[in-house]
Structure formats: C-alpha cells, structure tokens
Amino acid sequence: MSDVKERIDQLVKDNDVVLFMKGSKLFPQCGFSSRAVAILDRSNVEFETVDVLQDQEIRQGIKEYSDWPTIPQLYVKGEFVGGSDIMMEMFESGELQALLSVEKA
C-alpha cells in the first residue's frame, strides 16, 4: 500500500463521518463542497473534513482510493457513500439520515 493510500485509510477509519472537500467547513471553495457541508449540517451529525486543496497528494490519491474522479467525497464508517449528487438524493429520500443515525448509535 502506498503512503498516501495508508494516510487516507487512516483518515477514513479514524473518523466515522468524514468529508473530503475543497476548502473548509466555514469556507468551502466550490459549490459542490459547500452543498455537501450544508447537507451534513442539516443532518445534525458530527463530521470531520479534509481540505484537499491543502494536500495535493490526497487530492490525487482520494480519486484512486475510491475509483471516483470528483470531490467532494463522503465516507461513513469506512465506506464510500458518494459525492454531493448522491448525498442530495439520499438526503431527500431520508436514506442519508438513516445511515448517519444508525452510525451514531
């Protein structure tokens, strides 16, 4: 396993809910990252964020990690959930809240 893959693995395992995004929670640097943060805020869940703009290695590595070429990316309990379109669809159907509340318990 490459170094970057190990680092990502660790982030995903250490945090039940982690969002890889552009910018920070307070200052998202892209519309999709901003939307992803808003969805998690609305879901009343604690979550960590990783700003890929601060780390070129992770910015590239995360795309290979999940075979997913875009950012943001949400992981819950080590599992890749999707990007902001999927988060929005799952939020609107209630699936995301269900997934997150199960993980909280």
């Binding site: 892209c30 519309g31 075979d67 997913w68 875009t70 999707g82 902001s84 999927i86």
Partner: protein, 95 residues
C-alpha cells in the same frame, strides 16, 4: 433527447455518453454562465454542466456504479475540460 448545447465540449460529452450508454433520454444543461468570475471558470465557458441521463445500463446498479459509468464514458474530458458536473442517472421508468 430534449436539447443539444452547441459547444464543442458539450457535443463531445453527448457523443461519448450516447456511444457508451445508449441513453433513452438525456438532457445536458450548460450552466457555465452562472459561474463566470469564480474559480474553475476559465472564461471559455463550457465548464459547468448538469446532466440528466436515462439508460437501461443503469438497471440494477446502485448510485455509485451509475455515476462511475458516466465518469468512465466521459474519460479525460472530466479532468481537462469540465470543472463541475452534476449527475442524475436514471433507469427507464424511474422518476
């Protein structure tokens, strides 16, 4: 197919998606004008798109697999041309 944006990037996206996924319905909306002046808009336009695509290829596949099929069909266009793409991928009969 409800509309066809005229730009070369949009045309190429539609060509690749049509070839790979044989969509029964497709709508590609070029929203680049909404993003003039912020990061990712290089001034040429054709950078921000919203895609709705219906294809039998999505049947029995989850959301992640569906979007991966779209991403694969678009290939390097996504890295090099398209800064932002919002995707709704439906199987026939889904709302």
């Amino acid at each position: 197919m409800s509309d066809k944006p005229n730009g070369p990037v949009a045309s190429e996206m539609i060509r690749r998606l049509t070839e790979a996924l044989e969509p029964t319905r497709m709508h590609l909306d070029d929203q680049s004008d909404h993003h003039i002046g912020h990061a990712g808009h290089d001034g040429r336009g054709e950078s921000h798109f919203a895609l709705t695509i219906e294809s039998a290829a999505f049947e029995g596949r989850n959301r992640i697999e569906r979007q991966r099929l779209v991403y694969r069909a678009l290939g390097e266009l996504l890295d090099e041309q398209v800064h932002a793409l919002s995707i709704r991928a439906l199987a026939p009969g889904e709302a």
